[in-house]
Symmetry: C2
């Protein structure tokens, strides 16, 4: 009787411990379960666990109070797949089809003509000016609610060309575990993306557990106005307000958070300044870069691996050297992750 | 024995209940204590309590999930005193004295000459262009850390002319209670100010319990660079990035939060669009305006009271009419608040 009662209590306590790790924003890691099961035991995992233990241990000289625990993550190539083309670019190109239905005259002029031709080589050669015209036509000039509705609709049906799955399934399981692990230890997790802020906000809460107010991204101007019934609404303007890439990342972090992160993770030169800024803070700081070196399970790309620069998630040798010099951790997808996607067996 | 044990348990439970109301972000109002003791029982208090009960009661058709519970507050004139002059303007004028010590040539040119003269009438007549020159010289061209340090230092010593107290003591106790009450019921409280975002962030956490990432305000451009040792830092640029007043308030709310507030409170025409935007959302929404009608305990001002427009916290008759028409609550400082400041006996 006494023994079965003890077993029952043990079970309850074990459940409670697991529950804390995965659902609460306070409390330390449970001894019973590994919060990072998709990570191989190696320098990256060890660095993460050490960082979390040190900064959350009140007796440590590197203890960080809970309100200061900020962790920022790039999205494309860091939390989900970015190759062979950024998801948001696919969205804009797909939207051209819809837009020309409403404005037929666009089908006859560039760059829309090229997009509609489906000629991949010609599309790949579009200039930055061309792309800006496409962006203006496809994701601005509408209310913020209409934009959200359109993105939702698209995400529900669109599938990537390799895995034939919704884009929101192409998130990296080890990173989802890392986000949860940080939150379970009182860290507030943010996305800091060069992509569009309002695009990522549509699914970030469901997919990453990150609410809209913790998504910082490239933003267009928003203007307040009234419809014909006098009801106020917000319109997306064809005007760049915040270019949240490269130096724009720490600038955006200051604007939207006002605190320097203690941990940051990226995967390309666009994340360099965010990692520098994070690492330059006092005390223990964790800077990480995901290296795409797994051609079999995902992709291998970037000059740091001696491969051509595809201009998508560029990881240069200079970035690699800076990482080594400044003590950032490089996460090898091939060696550090035993599983990449949740849908894998 | 049994009876004293019961008394002890009762005491523990009573303490726990109070603790929940004042410190946690979840849970409902304790039956034992009034969370709004500085509010007189009247339509404003009743509207607030009813709104909170309805939106947090899972069985109510107006129930709002916790992640959607956003409440936004103007600062000047809503959370603290704004008359006879905005605190941040006093700061800039005071800073002119410091700036001319470093750049003596400024003392000889306008508008700095006028500010240094101390001639109140002449200072009051400075144009918007003059003020922008003062702003550029006093709060930009420095690192974000240096700015924070300067503001802190100033707040520690500066005192207002009427009460001879630090500005941070001139906060309205009923509003502090309201912020706590909302947070105790799962609402995330934000400041949405026409004033400078980084200024308010310096003290918002300590004074209002609102962390920097929940302060939205007028923002200058921030630029990333390196010092001579290669250490990165952020500089405040003399460039307006976000004018967080009037239409800029809902625009800033969308940029920084990405959700429509369920409750909002302001006190002037600068808050009109924020209140309209809040009230135009679906379900129960609470829009409130503080009316400065207490000449004895604080100030009475504004055209809605038949008094001259001082251009500081303008409350027009049109705003009053819109409030009545759209079901916003007007909070009378004189009638709705039995105490205004914490320092009052």
């Amino acid at each position: 009787m006494e023994s079965s009662r003890r077993t029952f209590l043990k079970r309850v306590l074990a459940c409670a411990a697991t529950y804390r790790v995965f659902t609460t924003t306070a409390g330390a890691q449970s001894a019973q379960s590994d919060p990072l099961p998709s990570w191989n035991d190696g320098p990256a995992k060890q660095a993460i666990v050490k960082f979390v233990k040190t900064t959350t241990d009140q007796s440590s000289s590197s203890f960080v109070s809970q309100e200061e625990r900020i962790a920022t993550f790039d999205q494309d190539g860091t939390l989900w797949v970015e190759h062979p083309i950024y998801t948001q670019v696919v969205y804009c190109l797909d939207r051209v089809q819809v837009v020309v239905k409403e404005k037929a005259e666009l089908a006859k002029v560039e760059p829309f003509k090229t997009v509609l031709s489906g000629d991949r080589e010609a599309i790949a050669k579009l200039t930055m000016d061309d792309l800006l015209k496409i962006v203006a036509a496809t994701i601005t000039g509408m209310s913020v609610e209409d934009y959200t509705t359109e993105v939702k609709k698209w995400l529900d049906t669109a599938k990537d060309s390799r895995w034939k799955r919704p884009y929101t399934e192409l998130t990296y399981l080890p990173m989802i575990e890392l986000l949860k692990y940080l939150r379970a230890n009182g860290y507030k997790t943010y996305i800091v993306t060069g992509g569009g802020q309002d695009f990522v906000r549509v699914y970030a809460e469901e997919v990453y557990g990150i609410p809209p107010e913790q998504v910082i991204g490239t933003s267009v101007g928003i203007s307040y106005g009234y419809d014909k019934n006098g009801r106020p609404f917000l319109t997306r303007e064809p005007k760049l307000l915040l270019n949240d890439d490269h130096a724009g990342k720490p600038e955006g972090i200051h604007l939207m958070i006002g605190r320097r992160p203690y941990a940051a993770c990226g995967n390309s030169t666009g994340d360099r300044q965010m990692l520098e800024y994070t690492k330059a803070g006092e005390g223990q700081r964790l800077a990480m870069l995901v290296l795409h070196d797994d051609a079999k399970r995902e992709y291998a790309y970037g000059p740091a691996l001696g491969l051509p620069d595809t201009k998508i998630g560029t990881f240069t040798q200079a970035l690699y050297d800076e990482a080594k010099k400044d003590g950032w951790f490089v996460i090898s997808m091939k060696n550090d992750w035993n599983r990449i996607f949740a849908f894998e067996e």
